[in-house]
C-alpha cells in the first residue's frame, strides 16, 4: 500500500479502561480502503469496544481515530455521513416495522423522503425481507434483525461500513444473502470492516485482517501475510493468541465408551 493513499481508518494510541480492566490497551492500526477487512479475536479481546470507539458510540480514554482523513471526535459531521454501523448487543427501534425503521433512519440521515422509500424498497427486496416488511422488528428472527440492521446501515450509501459480528446467530440462507450484498458493496470501492471469531468466515471473505487479543493488535496485514506458513487462518490465529493445543482427553475417557 502506498503511503500517499488515505487509509479508510487510521487509529492511533487508542485506550479504553473499564475500572481496573483495560479493554483496549493501545491500538495503532491503519486499515486500507476498498477492501473487505476482518477484525478477529477471541471473546473479550476488545473487538466491540474498539469498533464502538471507532464509530463514535463510545468515548476513548485516549487516542485518535480518523475515517477517510476526518477525526471522529473533532469532525463528527464529516465522519457520520461517511460511515454505516451495525453494532452488536444494542437494540434498534424495534416497535417499528422493518419498512418504518428504514423510512425513519433515512430521514434522520437527511435523505429526501422519496429517495428513502425507493432505496428501502430495493434493500428490503435484495435482503429478502419484502415479505416481512410490515412486521415489527421485535418479532424478527436474529437473521432478519441483522439484515434489517444492515439495510439501515447501507441506506445512506456510506464509504466505510462497520459490522460487529454480522453473522452471529444468522442462518446459512440469511448469511449468504448478507455476504452477496457485502461483496457487491466492496466491489464498488467501499470498505467493509467486520468483527468475527469465526475464522473460516474471515478467511473466505476478507482480503485483509487484524488479529486482536487482550486489547492489543497481535498481527495485521493482507490475509496471506497474517496466515504465513500456517495451513489455515485458524491455526495462525491459535498460535498468535496462544490457544490451548493438544487434547486433554484422558479425563473424558468415559465419553463414547460403553453405555
Amino acid at each position: 500500500m502506498g503511503q500517499d493513499v488515505i487509509p479508510a481508518v487510521r487509529i492511533e494510541g487508542l485506550w479504553k479502561r473499564f475500572g481496573e480492566q483495560a479493554a483496549v490497551a493501545g491500538i495503532d492500526l491503519e486499515i486500507p480502503a476498498g477492501q473487505f477487512i476482518g477484525l478477529v479475536g477471541p471473546n473479550g479481546a476488545g473487538k466491540t469496544t474498539t469498533l464502538s470507539m471507532v464509530t463514535g458510540l463510545l468515548r476513548p480514554d485516549s487516542g485518535r481515530v480518523e475515517i477517510g482523513g476526518h477525526d471522529v471526535w473533532q469532525d463528527p459531521a464529516a465522519v457520520k455521513a461517511r460511515i454505516g454501523v451495525l453494532p452488536e448487543g444494542l437494540r434498534m427501534f424495534e416497535r417499528l416495522s422493518g419498512r418504518e425503521l428504514l423510512a425513519c433512519t433515512g430521514r434522520l440521515r437527511g435523505l429526501p423522503g422519496d429517495e428513502v422509500d425507493k432505496r428501502a424498497t430495493q434493500l428490503l427486496d435484495v435482503l429478502d425481507l419484502a415479505g416481512s416488511q410490515h412486521k415489527l422488528v421485535i418479532d424478527y428472527s436474529t437473521g432478519m434483525r441483522k439484515k434489517i440492521g444492515l439495510a439501515a446501515a447501507l441506506l445512506h450509501n456510506p464509504e466505510v461500513l462497520f459490522l460487529d459480528e454480522p453473522f452471529e446467530g444468522v442462518d446459512p440462507v440469511s448469511a449468504q444473502t448478507i455476504r452477496k450484498v457485502l461483496e457487491r458493496y466492496t466491489a464498488s470501492g467501499a470498505t467493509v470492516v467486520f468483527s468475527s471469531h469465526v475464522m473460516e468466515l474471515v478467511e473466505s471473505l476478507c482480503s485483509w485482517v487484524a488479529v486482536l487479543a487482550a486489547g492489543r493488535i497481535r498481527a495485521h496485514g493482507p490475509l496471506a501475510e497474517v496466515r504465513g506458513e500456517a495451513p489455515t487462518l485458524q491455526d495462525a490465529f491459535l498460535s498468535l493468541v496462544g490457544g490451548r493445543a493438544g487434547a486433554e482427553g484422558e479425563n473424558l475417557d468415559w465419553l463414547g465408551g460403553a453405555r
Binding site: G56, K80, I83, L90, F93, L96, E100, L108, H134, K135
Partner: protein
C-alpha cells in the same frame, strides 16, 4: 446399547426439592440491593403471616369464624391460580419448557413439580393461613383430624391450580404479546388491590355474620369445602364433613389430571417463537396503513420522522403506553377526586400539566440502547436541536389539548370560570417550561428504563439520577414561570379581571419562547454528550 434407566420417583422428588431449595438460596446470592429486597420481603411476609395467624386464633370461639375462613380459602386459591400469570418468572420451576429435554414421563414429573411447589415462601404463608383457619374452627378431636387433612388438601389444591393454570397458559407466558399484557395488567392489579384494601377496611367495621350468605355458597367451592368440613365435623355433621373433603379431593384430582394433560401438550408442541411470519400480517398491515395516513400530515424530514416514531412508540411500546395512560388518567382523576371530597380547586390543573409534561424528562432513556441509531445521525448542535424539537412537538400534540381539556373540566367541576383564563395561560407557560427543562434533564440525568417488569421504571442504581432530575426539573420549571405568575397576581390584585384573558395568549407565547430557549440551551450539550447518554440509557 440399552436405554439409560429413568430416575426412580423418590430420587426425582429429591432432585426437584433440591433444585427449588437452590433457587431459593440463590435469591440470597444476588447484588446487595436485590438481597435487601429479598430479605425484606421475607421478613414482611413472616410478620404478615404471624399477624394473620394471631387474628385467626383470636377468632376461635366466634360462631361465625367459618364465614371468614371459607371465603379466605377460596380467595387464596384464586390468588394462586391467577397472580403467577401476571408475574411470570417468579418461580423458575413453573416453566415447563425448561424441562422438555429431560427424560421424564408426565406422571412422575407432576409429582416432582408438586414437591418443588411445596417449598417456598408462598406455600409456607398459605399453609400458616390454613392452619390458623383450622385452629379458629376446629372443635373436638374429630374436627382437628379432619382439619389436618383439610388444610393439606387446600394447600395442595392451591399449588396444583397455580401449576395447571400456568402450564395451560405457557404459550401466553412465553410469547411477547402475553408478557406485554402482563405488564399492563400490573396497572389493573394495582387498582384492584385498592378495591380489596377498601373492602378489607369496610369488613373490619362489619360483623362477620354479614359474610354468612357468601360462605353458604363458597362452602361448596373447593378449597372452601375442605375448610368448612372442619366446622361441620366440630358440629357433629360427620357425613357433611366427609362429603366436603371428598369434593375437595375430587377437584384436586381433576386439576392434577388437567395439569398433566397440558404438561404433555406443552412438551410436544412447537415453540411460540417460530410462528410463521404471516401470522401477524393482517394486523401489521393495518397498523402500517394508519401510520401512512398520519405520516402525510406531519412535516417532512427529521421532524416528521421523529414525531411519527414517538407517536408510534406511544401506541406500541407497553412501557410508554402504560406511562401515558397512567399520566392521563391520574391527571384527570386527582382533580375530580379532590372536588368530590370538597377540596376542589381549579389549580389542580397544574398537577395534571406537570405529570404529563414530565414525560419527556428522560426522552433518550425511552429509546433504550436503540439511541445509537439517533446518535449516528446527530453530528452538530443543529441536528440535536431538530431531534429535541421533534420529540417535544410529538408530546405537545397531546399535552396542549389535554392541558386545555383539564383546565376546562376543572373549571366546570369547581364552577370557577373567573380564574379559568389565568390558569389556562399559566398551564400553557408551564408546558413550555417543562419542555425546556426536559431537554436539559434528558442530557444531564439520562437513565435506563428496564423492558421487563410492570413496576420497574428505573434500572438498578439509577434511582438517584431519576428522582434528582425530576425534582430539580419541576422546581426550575416553576421558577421559569415566575414572570407570568407575577403578572397574574398583579392583575388579580389590581382587580383587572377583564384583562385576565390576556394571560392565555401571553402564556402560550411565553411557553413557546421558553421551550425554544430551553431546547437551544440543551442542544449543544446533547451533541457533546452523545456517548455518555448512550452508556446511561443502555443498562436496561
Amino acid at each position: 446399547m440399552s436405554a439409560p434407566a429413568l430416575p426412580s420417583l423418590p430420587s426425582l422428588l429429591g432432585t426437584f426439592a433440591h433444585l427449588k431449595l437452590s433457587l431459593l438460596r440463590n435469591g440470597l446470592r444476588q447484588s446487595s440491593g436485590r438481597k435487601a429486597v429479598y430479605i425484606t420481603s421475607l421478613v414482611l411476609t413472616a410478620l404478615f403471616a404471624a399477624l394473620e395467624l394471631i387474628g385467626l386464633i383470636a377468632l376461635r370461639g366466634n360462631e361465625h369464624a367459618a364465614a371468614l375462613t371459607v371465603p379466605l380459602a377460596v380467595l387464596l386459591a384464586l390468588g394462586w391460580a391467577f397472580v403467577p400469570l401476571f408475574f411470570p418468572g417468579g418461580d423458575e420451576t413453573l416453566d415447563a419448557s425448561k424441562l422438555v429435554m429431560l427424560p421424564l414421563r408426565p406422571t412422575p414429573l407432576v409429582a416432582a413439580l408438586m414437591t418443588a411447589s411445596l417449598i417456598g415462601i408462598g406455600p409456607a404463608f398459605t399453609l400458616i393461613l390454613f392452619v390458623g383457619s383450622v385452629i379458629a374452627t376446629a372443635h373436638g378431636v374429630a374436627a382437628a383430624v379432619i382439619g389436618v387433612f383439610g388444610a393439606a388438601l387446600a394447600l395442595l389444591l392451591c399449588l396444583a391450580l397455580a401449576r395447571a393454570v400456568a402450564t395451560a397458559n405457557a404459550r401466553l407466558l412465553t410469547s411477547r404479546k402475553g408478557r406485554e399484557m402482563a405488564l399492563l395488567s400490573g396497572l389493573i392489579i394495582a387498582v384492584g388491590l385498592q378495591f380489596v384494601n377498601l373492602g378489607m377496611a369496610k369488613l373490619n367495621t362489619l360483623h362477620l355474620a354479614r359474610l354468612e350468605p357468601l360462605a353458604d355458597i363458597l362452602r361448596w367451592v373447593p378449597p372452601g369445602s375442605a375448610l368448612d368440613a372442619v366446622r361441620a365435623a366440630g358440629e357433629g355433621s360427620y357425613g357433611l364433613a366427609a362429603g366436603e373433603l371428598a369434593l375437595s379431593a375430587a377437584v384436586l384430582a381433576a386439576v392434577l389430571w388437567w395439569w398433566q394433560r397440558s404438561l404433555a401438550a406443552v412438551m410436544v408442541s412447537a415453540d411460540a417463537s417460530t410462528v410463521s411470519p404471516d401470522a401477524s400480517r393482517k394486523d401489521a398491515g393495518r397498523a402500517a396503513d394508519k401510520g401512512a395516513g398520519l405520516a402525510g400530515l406531519l412535516p417532512a424530514g427529521r421532524t416528521g420522522a421523529v414525531m411519527l416514531r414517538s407517536l408510534r412508540y406511544l401506541s406500541r411500546d407497553p412501557k410508554t403506553r402504560m406511562a401515558w395512560v397512567s399520566a392521563l388518567v391520574i391527571g384527570l382523576i386527582v382533580p375530580a377526586v379532590n372536588a368530590a371530597q370538597g377540596n376542589g380547586s381549579i389549580y389542580f390543573a397544574f398537577f395534571a400539566t406537570t405529570v404529563l409534561g414530565m414525560h419527556n424528562y428522560n426522552q433518550f432513556g425511552q429509546d433504550g440502547s436503540a439511541f445509537w441509531m439517533v446518535l449516528q445521525t446527530i453530528s452538530s448542535p443543529r441536528d440535536a436541536y431538530a431531534e429535541l424539537r421533534s420529540r417535544a412537538l410529538a408530546v405537545a400534540l397531546i399535552a396542549v389539548p389535554y392541558t386545555t381539556l383539564v383546565v376546562i373540566v376543572s373549571a366546570a367541576i369547581t364552577d370557577n370560570w373567573r380564574d379559568m383564563p389565568m390558569v389556562w395561560g399559566l398551564c400553557l407557560a408551564l408546558v413550555g417550561a417543562l419542555f425546556a427543562t426536559a431537554a436539559t434533564t434528558s442530557v444531564r440525568f439520562p437513565y435506563s428504563i428496564p423492558q421487563e417488569g410492570a413496576f420497574k421504571n428505573v434500572a438498578p442504581g439509577q434511582n438517584g439520577i431519576a428522582w434528582g432530575g425530576m425534582l430539580l426539573g419541576a422546581l426550575v420549571s416553576a421558577a421559569l414561570c415566575t414572570p407570568l405568575i407575577v403578572a397574574a397576581v398583579w392583575l388579580h390584585s389590581a382587580g383587572a379581571t377583564g384583562l385576565l384573558w390576556a394571560l392565555v395568549p401571553a402564556g402560550a407565547g411565553y411557553g413557546l419562547l421558553i421551550a425554544w430557549a430551553g431546547l437551544r440551551f440543551a442542544a449543544p450539550r446533547v451533541a457533546g454528550r452523545l456517548p455518555e447518554i448512550l452508556a446511561a440509557v443502555s443498562k436496561g
